[in-house]
Subunit: 373 residues, 4 copies
């Protein structure tokens, strides 16, 4: 929503490009589609109209005061392309294979009707509980058969990935949910020749961990405990207040520390739902570390951010980079997009700066795709 | 002091190598002198014996309880090599040129008497006020002549640099003072074929700025104001409570932001002396930034550190890297050591990670000096 | 401004009474004038219309979105009663005594034209530099004569107090400026039989000091240093960025600590102007204290508040309490209103809870004025 | 332990009376026993000698360096009076009634052997899980009979209270455990004519809540959510990492907010065990509140304290106040000691200042016991 309204605002000159990584001078040569070439649609499980949601965001200080009216035409255009999605509970009478077919048909219809060159499916729905492993996840042959038999073998995030790949679309998972991260789905993406990216957009506490972790590591300061508390308002907070849903998010948050510090670190991470925070979130982290001769010291930080304003530009960046990767013929997991994720695919590391260098490398490759192959 | 006691503790196996950057697996191939090859001496303007100072540090929690006794022999050995230094007020009757000759003779005596291969002079004295420019600073011919005429053309930090170069020693400025950063002294270092490094060890607030600044920049989050307050105990705090002395430190602290964010940023930095903090310092920083669509957000951090425990291992690292650079024939300013400094010489940037990559490059070069030339 | 719009909003039922101390169940028996009995006017040195200022506040998130339109009639009514004030630089050709006469005539005109029972003058203008003492400040006879001779013996805040008293109005100083706090003006207030209150509304950092100071004192925890940094946006921040203007504010902030801890405490207080904060302010305080056996510990707090939203209800409270005190015949300094001030008149102490008990005592006295005399 | 060593240090003049509330000038007339009239003994379930524990505390910075040696004689004297206690698991073969008899005999022996006038039993053991209600808790007749029948009807804290009352000793519960808070035990205390106090010493986060809660309430700022995270090292942290044990502590922490704000408040409280913190604890609280016109604002604080140094002086204060209350003939729950507790008996409120006024009232009553009855 903020992505749709924001893209409209930026291309109309109503807002600067702040927060859009793709507009960095280091990266602008990558040949990405310009913002005004983007067209929005989607699958949704709620029925709040985009206009109304925009007004709520403006009241909460996320969108500038008069913006919803100014971009109303863009919101309406996107609204027309919203179709019913799949939720955590399966729709009555719809078998998983049918749901995938329906979603894929929606994607093909969207692409065809509007004459689009390609479509990127970005999962920004609520976090799912971790998926229990099943033998059918190993190959697409087995998984596809299980879906046809009507087995509930996949959560919604993976059904979307499946539909995207079936329709020849690329896929981005902005959440810690399963998405495309199953051997069977990776196989499907490879077969269809589409790229995909994930997982879990890095917008706050973990973004800081990805620069502070390397700082401690290169300075050889020994982190003894890293504790964190996240206060979230809004729907995301309510979802994550359920420990089952939070499990994936918490695991992905801690992985960055182990990845940058070289070993797992003591300390708990809490996610609390504080409804009165609305669109805002606050993270407090306490890092206890030892320096020379074992002297104990601490770093604390408080990050107070607006979740939509942090996530929306990254969604636009990811859509543009992934579309361009698709265009130049890249397929499979895009590890070079780790800069955007808490739990990146591939082995590109968790340090933000090394991830940025990888992103610059990707931009070079996208700029001159022939040279890079 | 903490460096002397700590080096003794580490080489005796009484303490781990925490905080010593040179012991990072990435850097251990550089061929640096091992810790137990180091011999300590110095120039000092106070007369507190090292043993007594060590006991004070142990009482303040900076050195582990029984350490001063365990390393007493090492402290005594260093004590025997301490000579009177030059202070902010010139010694009665000693012309600057004579002071330089005296300091240089001390360095040569130290090297010769103990049979050392080379000596690194590290300036860890109190911060000086900024130096008013003088025409004599332009060339060594003019500056040397001015010193011979008895003109007070140089502050103590620069007299030390001068003496080091005259004695064929390398020089490291761990403070924001003038040190070797005058054309005349750079010329002298080049003539004598010695390397030097600086300025101003990066141990706390600025260390954080050097990773957080690039984070905001690569994410294209627009920093609107960066405000900081530093509470310092101990002698350093008392010195910096004088605005004249603090001026250099404050300038060097803000340079990192302009260097990483690409432009100067609004916001003040305060340094307060809080005597009751003893050896400790606390920095609080408040960063106001804008994200997508101009939404304002904040990051705050509090860093509570022990200044000696943060600085001492860096002093050891710098001495070892600089000595090795001297050994392999490098001369002039060592920009590759910017990782350690608030205000590094050269144009290696202010982002910590890029500085770390430069340091790794230096380690490679030191490991195979022939290849690198 | 926020007070005018807010009073209108509350009396129209558009907003709850949050923040209005006078609406506390403990205090509602005091017989204060109801909010809808209040009529607003004022003296101003700027010419921004109230409607426009209200829109700016709404854009800054201080007033709810649609409020300015809803209370436009109230704003216009107040606007009609705004007259030119006196600024830091005297108006060309207007002698101080003439300025006082002009202001007093405005007040009398306001009271007469609208048929008001009484008028309370509240000073909410920018903080002035401390006033150099003059012999004429001792008695009204001398001061009045000096003003007639054209001497610039009083700053604007005191000219307003003088005019209020001359017109038989009570006076409240919400700033740390001079206001009525000169023997000559106290004498004038007594002669005219009007009450007055001050100084310097307690809306943030100092409010916290007034509860934390007594906590440390009654627990016998020894505060070693209390340091604070205040980041202020808006016009107030710009005024206080000038050290001359800040001097009074800083003194009044520290007085609370000495008053509650029993002795002056080490530590500096900074006020920085951070324009991008707009209507907001952030205070960070660091308290270093010792407990049993001299163990050092710390408390830090960060207060992020909206200055207008914190001050406006107190302005309404003070106007209502002072008007009622005037009505029941109280004269002179109202020490029982210390709850609202950083630097209260009288000797009622600086601890917030004891001040609250005094305020409850005042409410009882105002409820049954005969009994209390 | 810190209480024993600290009392010795203060009475020998080795440490000031910092942290001892009873030494406040407001309270010194209460006729309390002087510190050097106190004699220490105890029941313990571990067998670490006091001397060794003192050395550990000195190494952790809680006791000054040389103190353990200086007060060794006092520690040894207390050590001689330590007897085996009752732990969470009942001793093999010891029926509850026998345990109570054994503990009571120890108390009587201690009092008789050392010729003490009276004994105060203070429970400072680890927090217990909440006690499931049982019908026998209603009267002493039923409870005593159940204990004789060998039923495990009471947790250790209540067995200690029971033994204290049986031996004619007063009792203080410094933990949130059951202690004397059962009708049957209250009846027993009344029958034996002894006073008792509790529960749960207020040493950090909750102490702050007890002054900040009233601040918000009297200013009519509407607290929307109050979230807190507590990082605890040491044994207390390990015990409270078990949710069953933490339940009582968490309930007692939140009660203060409801008690001072007038209604329950949204927000979670976490207690994390961070072993590397040793004797230290850190609490971070985030308060989201609304002011005038519904503007949202925040207060955050970080409290970094040493648990023993905060608790020990309160244990001494409580022992002295309770002994004096016993001496002057007071019996039953001492609500006037609520100043010291998170969850005070009686209805004296949760605001710290009103509790302090009650404590001053108690001091007056203890000073002139005849007058007060």
């Amino acid at each position: 929503m903020t992505a749709v309204a924001g893209a409209a605002a930026v291309r109309s000159g109503l807002a600067p490009t702040t927060g859009l990584v793709a507009e960095h001078p280091d990266l602008r040569h990558a040949g990405l589609a310009p913002l005004d070439a983007l067209v929005f649609g989607g699958h949704d499980v709620t029925s709040t109209p985009l206009r109304k949601r925009a007004e709520q965001l403006a009241a909460g200080g996320v969108l500038p005061g008069g913006l919803p009216e100014l971009v109303a035409a863009d919101l309406d255009a996107a609204e027309r392309e919203v179709r019913p999605g799949v939720g955590p509970a399966p729709a009555v009478g719809e078998a998983p294979a049918d749901a995938v077919r329906r979603l894929a048909a929606d994607l093909e219809g969207f692409r065809g009707r509007l004459g689009l060159e390609r479509v990127v499916v970005v999962n920004v729905s609520s976090t799912e509980p971790p998926l229990p492993p099943r033998p059918e996840h190993a190959t697409w042959a087995e998984l596809g058969a299980a879906l046809e038999r009507g087995e509930e073998a996949l959560p919604p995030s993976a059904l979307y990935a499946c539909a995207a790949f079936q329709a020849g679309c690329s896929f981005v998972d902005f959440t810690p949910s399963t998405g495309a991260r199953l051997p069977a789905l990776e196989e499907l993406a490879a077969t269809r020749g589409v790229p995909w990216a994930g997982s879990d957009g890095k917008t706050g506490e973990t973004l800081l961990k990805s620069v502070l972790g390397p700082m401690f590591a290169t300075r050889r300061l020994a982190v003894r405990a890293w504790s964190g508390t996240n206060l979230l308002g809004g729907g995301d907070g309510a979802t994550l207040a359920d420990p089952a849903n939070a499990a994936g998010k918490l695991a992905s948050k801690q992985r960055v520390l182990a990845g940058t510090l070289g070993e797992p670190v003591d300390g708990e991470v809490h996610i609390d739902h504080v409804a009165a925070l609305g669109e805002w979130k606050t993270a407090w982290d306490h890092v206890l570390f030892e320096g020379f001769l074992g002297v104990g010291m601490t770093l604390q930080f408080t990050w107070q951010g607006c979740d939509s304003a942090l996530a929306a530009p990254l969604v636009l960046d990811l859509a543009r980079f992934t579309a361009r990767a698709h265009e130049v013929g890249m397929t499979g997991p895009l590890g070079e997009l780790g800069f955007f994720f808490k739990d990146p695919v591939g082995d590109g590391g968790h340090g933000l700066h090394e991830q940025y260098l990888a992103l610059r490398g990707l931009a070079d490759r996208l700029a001159a795709p022939e040279a890079g192959r």
